[in-house]
């Protein structure tokens, strides 16, 4: 029987199944064990698996990733939680200089099967240091895999792929997604492959491309566009690195128009890469320049009115669509 779970529960369920399947899988992070996680993703897991496999650490982000790197090279499969992805900035050296390159530099001797997961993006007035969307920074780095699922089903299936992957995987969640519900299959081998985008809604007049929470913003915008008689297709990228350009290009070939939507800073964010790829490869299919909706290029402000202004919403998407003509 398929179950209806929240995004948070879907992640937890996958963690449980993978920990049951493989004793080498273990969790590590700040306040994930006895306290069960600040976003409650790891609820109940400390009681179930004990301190050997659900490890609370001091506040030591660089060391958490460093330890995970070493443990992974020694054969374990660490799944580490960053309380927020913003704190992973402290650990960039271990992620970029080590995890991402170990396999390459050792000519394939060493593997670093590690998952770094946690919420990225803005929550509610957590201000400039706690609201980063970091997926684009990581997706810049060869050797990392970067995914950003939008639904409970994808969170469930992509985390399994992440845990079983022999490469370091950055798995970004979003505070606004934890509570959303969706069906997940009753299959503890269900895995969503990386590098496969998902058509979240079919349409014929234009393509909206999003990932993570922005997929839902695209879907809402598509509904509003439908009321105006415009049929929008929504492509949920879900895997940034590797990127499924085939599905994106296929959709653009059909609709001839595209708007890319991402929460990260517009300038240099991952949506810029997607837009560039479309521009580079779909020139003959396009009836208009590729549109982009991204976060405002300022540090995330605290005041709610300002914060809301910085995060893309469905109106911003409608405006961008209008500009395509």
């Amino acid at each position: 029987m398929p179950a209806t779970l929240t995004y948070r529960e879907a992640i937890r369920q996958c963690l449980v199944e993978e920990m049951d399947r493989d004793d080498n899988v273990f969790l590590m992070g700040e306040d994930i064990g006895r306290y069960q996680g600040t976003f409650r993703v790891t609820q109940g897991l400390f009681d179930k698996y004990g301190p050997r496999r659900v490890i609370d650490t001091p506040i030591v982000e660089p060391a958490i990733v460093g330890l995970a790197n070493g443990a992974a090279m020694a054969g374990l499969r660490p799944v580490i939680e960053m309380m927020t992805m913003s704190f992973s900035i402290l650990a960039l050296d271990q992620v970029i200089n080590h995890a991402a390159k170990i396999h390459y530099m050792t000519n394939g001797q060493a593997k670093c099967p590690l998952v770094v997961r946690g919420p990225g993006g803005a929550a509610n007035q957590l201000s400039a240091q706690h609201s980063h969307s970091v997926e684009g920074w990581y997706a810049h780095v060869p050797g990392l895999k970067v995914v950003a699922p939008a639904t409970p089903e994808d969170a469930y299936g992509m985390l399994r792929t992440a845990i079983r992957d022999d490469n370091p995987v950055i798995f970004t969640e979003n505070p606004g997604l934890y509570g959303i519900k969706g069906e997940i299959p009753d299959d503890n081998e269900f895995a969503v492959p990386f590098g496969k985008a998902r058509i979240a809604r079919e349409g014929s007049d234009l393509t909206l491309v999003g990932y993570s929470r922005m997929t839902h913003v695209c879907l809402k915008a598509a509904e509003l566009l439908a009321e105006q008689g415009i049929s929008a297709e929504v492509v949920d990228v879900r895997s940034l690195l590797p990127l499924d350009t085939e599905t994106i290009f296929g959709s653009v070939a059909k609709t001839h128009r595209a708007v890319v939507v991402y929460e990260d800073w517009k300038s240099g964010g991952f949506g810029a890469e997607i837009a560039a790829r479309i521009g580079e490869n779909c020139f003959d299919d396009l009836d208009a320049p590729v549109g982009r909706v991204g976060g405002l290029n300022v540090p995330m402000p605290y005041a709610r009115v300002l914060e809301l202004e910085c995060i893309p919403n469905e109106q911003d998407v409608l405006d961008a669509v209008k500009k395509l003509g």
Binding site: T38, I59, V60, Q125, L126, A128, L296, A303, V305
Partner: protein
């Protein structure tokens, strides 16, 4: 003779005033958070009032200070403008950052406040930099940084400690050991729970004090400031204290017992210091008056801040660059 022996009646009442301004602010902010007027994480420091209160008498306006997301008390006792403080906490125009920084980032350069911080430990090297500036310019100021027991596990804190000792920076390192870092007890995050021992390795003089005793805090800070001002370098103060409120407004507090919290409530710095005042023959009526004035002052500042406008969308793009 301890430095605190020469505190005047007015000085003592000033400590008391700082304590009550802080408590009044936290009581009101808690209410505003419950009412949904204030959103996002609110980190309070109920039970830790002796530390900011005594700091207010040692650290001068020219001295540089960094604190944490939990540092409102220090911001108040440093003499920062109240409407600037509460305006920022509420995210309004007229707050120190015109609503852009928020409650974890209170900063008031005019008063030497180099900033609160949302990144655990990050304020320590920044304060050391304030100390470096003082040394380079020879302006006679010193720097102080306040951080938690949990921050002492962050690498940048140790890098800064080593440098501060090596270069004899005029720096006070005040560690608020409230026994928990978020929901993790000190014993589960450090094999050495006497944190002064961790400083020995750097050659930084370190002492452990009762952080709920405002006079003990004053003495330790006074001596540390004296050393910093006379070129002797940094001092580390481990102030034993306890936050009797949650880590933040949404803390389920499953990691400690009610009994433990109740026991610490009895050791509240406010209760302690009221006794001190009476012992030092300060009249009851003055004690009550100062407390009432402190509460009134804070509440009217918050009332005023609540009337400030929200920032306009046009302000969004300003100040990204200097």
């Amino acid at each position: 003779m301890r430095p605190s022996d020469s505190l005047s009646r007015d000085d003592l009442l000033l400590i008391w005033r700082h304590m009550w301004r802080m408590r009044a602010a936290e009581t009101r902010l808690t209410q505003l958070s419950r009412d949904g007027v204030l959103r996002g994480s609110l980190h309070l420091a109920e039970g830790q009032e002796a530390l900011p209160a005594a700091t207010g008498l040692v650290i001068r306006q020219v001295d540089k200070l960094t604190v944490t997301y939990r540092g409102h008390g220090y911001v108040l006792s440093k003499g920062c403008d109240l409407v600037g403080v509460f305006g920022e906490i509420l995210g309004r125009v007229g707050g120190f950052g015109n609503g852009k920084g928020g409650k974890m980032h209170l900063t008031d350069l005019e008063n030497g406040l180099l900033g609160a911080n949302g990144i655990v430990g990050a304020g320590v090297p920044i304060a050391a930099g304030g100390g470096l500036a003082a040394k380079v310019t020879g302006d006679g100021s010193i720097a102080m940084t306040v951080f938690g027991d949990g921050a002492l596990n962050q690498g940048c804190v140790h890098e800064a400690c080593n440098i501060a000792a090596l270069w004899k920076l005029p720096l006070i390192l005040l560690c608020e050991n409230n026994l928990y870092a978020e929901m993790t007890s000190l014993a589960r995050s450090s094999a050495v729970t006497d944190l002064t021992q961790r400083m020995t390795a750097y050659g930084i003089p370190a002492l452990r004090i009762d952080g709920n005793d405002a006079l003990a805090v004053y003495d330790a800070l006074w001596n540390a400031a004296d050393d910093a001002r006379s070129g002797k370098g940094p001092t580390f103060i481990e102030a034993m204290t306890y936050r009797t409120c949650g880590h933040y407004q949404a803390d389920a507090e499953t990691y400690r017992t009610r009994k433990e919290v109740e026991q610490w409530r009895k050791k509240s710095p406010l209760i302690r210091f009221e006794k001190t005042l009476l012992d030092r023959k300060v009249e009851r009526s003055s004690i009550d008056d100062v407390r009432r004035q402190a509460e009134d002052e804070i509440n009217s500042a918050i009332d005023q801040a609540l009337k400030l406008p929200s920032p306009s969308v046009e302000s969004l793009r300003s100040n990204v660059f200097a």
